[in-house]
């Protein structure tokens, strides 16, 4: 009970509680980015000095870099001095009843089939409804603790598990990696940390949803997952509820590490605000996600369903260092209206007999642009490496675009690399066929699209797959007929 009470307190009290004592009383950093702001963030997070120094190094490096121009996306220049880099998690305006919730939001909840109590929580109505999920979360934490699994916010990990952070943070995505990764390294505010000890199979799917102290997705999220020898974990990122987020720029970093015989399965469903039908507003999602299969026979599997954001720039990748290691990438990217997505993966084969599979499904509707960009690189050392790539695009209407940019670099003659690509249109004849069996045009389109994405949905955990299907339906609503 006392645990529950504490959790509820954490949830409802938004004030910063780690006793930061300077003259700055505010819970928000002023706009702009400089070394003082970074020290401010680090201090707010109560971080040790080595962390502050790491951030500063990243910031100094960022200053020397340029924003990438190669993606096939267009947007007005971002003024990085016009962004607030820190604000304490905001308390959502609390509403008295569901009557006060935006009706459009309610409509979406309904379509997603979210239970009423859950709807209240997401929309920020009343507190007592929260109890259920809170107690679930508490039991959940206890179970993990028994197994020796660490699952906490990255800020907590920096304070409580510095040895793991020092060893692994930045080991997969160094701050020098790219413009947005450097920015993230300098200013990241929160994210998740997972450590699965040797030989432990995580008994449940881990999700930020259960990490109650960080319900709000941060603007500069940082996630680090380590699977020690012989361990397994399935991690779910995101929440399919239509979270409204006012932050325009998101630059997250996700790092995964698997040691010998370990496996990480990382699933994402992303449906951030895509902007309105005229293309105004919406999130810029510039993410660096990378995993390293450091140990032999280890495996990393990325599955993503991307339906949100105005601009997506994202290439979840695998460095296959260990012998017989396996990398997988299953992706559905949907763009509608004026959305732009440039997404794909990189598979870097270093270890002998390393294998990778890429299955990418792009769906473009409206006036959107959807690009697959992928690199398969086989180094000299990767004797017997194998890759199979399949990139399929589906077009709805005649004003959208689908593009494929596959890059293949092979330095070992024994490697086998296969690439298949198709482009298709949702056909009038397919829709008519389904109509003729009593299925409405809207349901027909959903069916055709879901069939197209089936190979990817099969990779998602069951519940997630069901939600992903519904989400697709919502994203493509009204795009045909």
């Amino acid at each position: 009970m006392s645990d529950d009470m504490k959790v509820v307190e954490d949830l409802t009290q938004s004030e910063y509680k780690w006793g930061f004592t300077t003259n700055i009383e505010a819970d928000e950093a002023p706009k702009g980015l400089n070394e003082n702001i970074i020290r401010f963030i680090s201090a707010k997070k109560n971080e040790p000095e080595w962390m502050t120094q790491w951030r500063l190094k990243a910031y100094r490096h960022w200053l020397t870099m340029e924003e990438p121009k190669w993606p096939k996306v267009k947007y007005d220049p971002i003024d990085y001095q016009d962004v607030k880099y820190y604000s304490a998690p905001k308390k959502k305006p609390e509403l008295d009843s569901m009557d006060e919730v935006d009706p459009e939001l309610l409509k979406t909840f309904e379509k997603l089939g979210i239970p009423l109590e859950e709807q209240k929580r997401l929309a920020g109505v009343a507190v007592d409804a929260v109890f259920d999920s809170v107690s679930v979360a508490t039991t959940f934490r206890e179970t993990l603790h028994e197994k020796g699994i660490i699952f906490c916010s990255i800020s907590e990990a920096i304070r409580e598990h510095p040895e793991l952070i020092k060893k692994y943070m930045g080991s997969v995505v160094p701050y020098t990696d790219n413009y947005f990764a450097a920015l993230n390294s300098a200013v990241f505010t929160d994210g998740s940390f997972v450590y699965i000890p040797k030989g432990v199979r995580c008994p449940m799917e881990l999700s930020t949803y259960f990490r109650i102290n960080a319900m709000e997705t941060g603007q500069f999220e940082r996630t680090l997952i380590i699977a020690d020898e012989g361990s397994y974990v399935s991690y779910l990122e995101g929440c399919t509820a239509p979270m409204r987020d006012e932050n325009q720029l998101h630059a997250a970093v996700v790092e995964l590490v698997t040691l010998d015989n370990a496996e990480i399965k990382y699933s994402t469903v992303q449906n951030w605000y895509p902007g309105n039908k005229e293309g105004k507003g919406g999130i810029y999602n510039f993410v660096t996600k990378r995993g390293i299969c450091r140990g032999k026979n280890s495996k990393i599997s990325w599955t993503q369903v991307e339906t949100g954001s105005a601009i997506t720039w994202k290439y979840p990748s695998c460095i296959l260092q260990g012998e017989n290691s396996i990398g997988e990438f299953y992706s559905v990217a949907v763009t509608n209206n004026y959305q732009q997505a440039d997404t794909g993966t990189k598979m870097i084969h270093i270890g002998k007999n390393s294998k990778s599979t890429i299955v990418s499904k792009g769906i473009s509707a409206g006036r959107s642009d959807n690009s697959y960009r992928g690199l398969v690189k086989v180094l000299k050392s990767a004797e017997g490496a194998r890759n199979f790539s399949q990139c399929d695009s589906m077009l709805m209407g005649d004003k959208c675009g689908a593009h494929t940019f596959p890059y293949i670099e092979v330095d070992n003659d024994s490697a086998m690399v296969e690439h298949e690509a198709t482009t298709s249109k949702v056909g009038e004849d397919q829709i008519f066929y389904l109509n003729q069996r009593g299925i409405s045009t809207e349901d027909a389109v959903n069916m055709i699209v879901n069939g197209f994405c089936k190979e990817v949905f099969n990779e998602l955990p069951m519940e997630f797959a069901v939600e992903a299907q519904k989400l697709l339906a919502i994203s493509l609503e009204g795009s045909v007929g």
């Binding site: 066929y433 109509n435 003729q436 069996r437 409405s440 349901d443 069916m447 879901n450 069939g451 197209f452």
Partner: protein, 254 residues
């Protein structure tokens, strides 16, 4: 069941149906024959509501309702079924999911609850057996990678599963070998009842050896120019379409 009066239709601005009349009563099987380009498939597609075909005149009453005002899905829900000449592939959606969705949409329209999972399975097994379809064919994606014969068989399987009031078979016999023809015809005969009707659109008489029609109509240049009993099909087979064409011309010149 179905009453077509002076039906006119265009495809890409070209007149194809030019005042077609047809009455189909419950329990009847009508065969529509005719040379290439006479408008047989156009008739089938117009009745099903394919948007590629534009109705320019006439009326169609189906079960006391104005068919031409309905959306294609509502026509299907009212009990009109078209077995496609070229069945469409829907990758990634299994035959059973597809059929279950279709059955439930039709039931919803009629105010009935969804079909129970067990009932559906039993029904599927029963109907699949009639058409000699194995489980593999049922669990595979709709028509995807099916041979021509398998696709046609799947159409008739769907017909039996959905059990509509009126089935329109658009050249279901084309591309079938003699064994498949027998199986498919057997399926259609299974469907026949006092309450259901069938319109068989075909080039050839051979299908009508298996699905014996009550009436045979000859469609030529967008109109039915001759109607008769099943013997008309045999006569056509013997004398060819020129025979009716010529008699039509003679009739017209009088």
């Amino acid at each position: 069941m179905l009453s077509i009066k002076e039906l006119k239709a265009q495809v890409e601005g070209k007149d194809i149906l030019k005042g077609l009349n047809l009455e189909v009563k419950a329990g009847e099987v009508h065969a529509i024959m005719g040379p290439n380009g006479s408008g047989k498939s156009t008739l089938a597609n117009v009745l099903a509501g394919n948007e590629g075909y534009e109705v320019t005149g006439g009326e169609v009453i189906f079960e006391n309702k104005n068919l031409l005002e309905m959306d294609p899905e509502d026509r299907a829900r009212e009990g009109l079924f078209l077995a496609f000449q070229y069945p469409i592939e829907i990758p990634g959606i299994s035959n059973s999911t597809f059929l279950k969705t279709a059955i439930n949409e039709i039931r919803k329209y009629k105010g009935l609850p969804e079909i129970a999972a067990k009932e559906f399975l039993v029904l599927m097994r029963e109907k699949a057996k009639i058409l000699g379809m194995d489980d593999n064919l049922i669990s595979r994606s709709v028509n995807t990678g099916f041979s021509g014969g398998e696709k046609k068989r799947n159409e008739i399987f769907q017909l039996l599963m959905l059990n509509p009031k009126l089935a329109i078979l658009d050249e279901t016999d084309s591309g079938l070998d003699i064994d498949a023809l027998r199986i498919v015809s057997n399926g259609v005969n299974e469907f026949r009842s006092r309450d259901n009707s069938v319109i068989v659109v075909t080039h050839y008489q051979r299908l009508l050896d298996y699905i014996v029609p009550d009436f045979v109509h000859v469609l030529y240049k967008g109109k039915i120019i001759k109607s008769g009993g099943k013997e008309l099909a045999l006569e056509l087979e013997e004398k060819g379409y020129d025979w009716v064409k010529n008699s039509e011309l003679t009739a017209a010149s009088v």
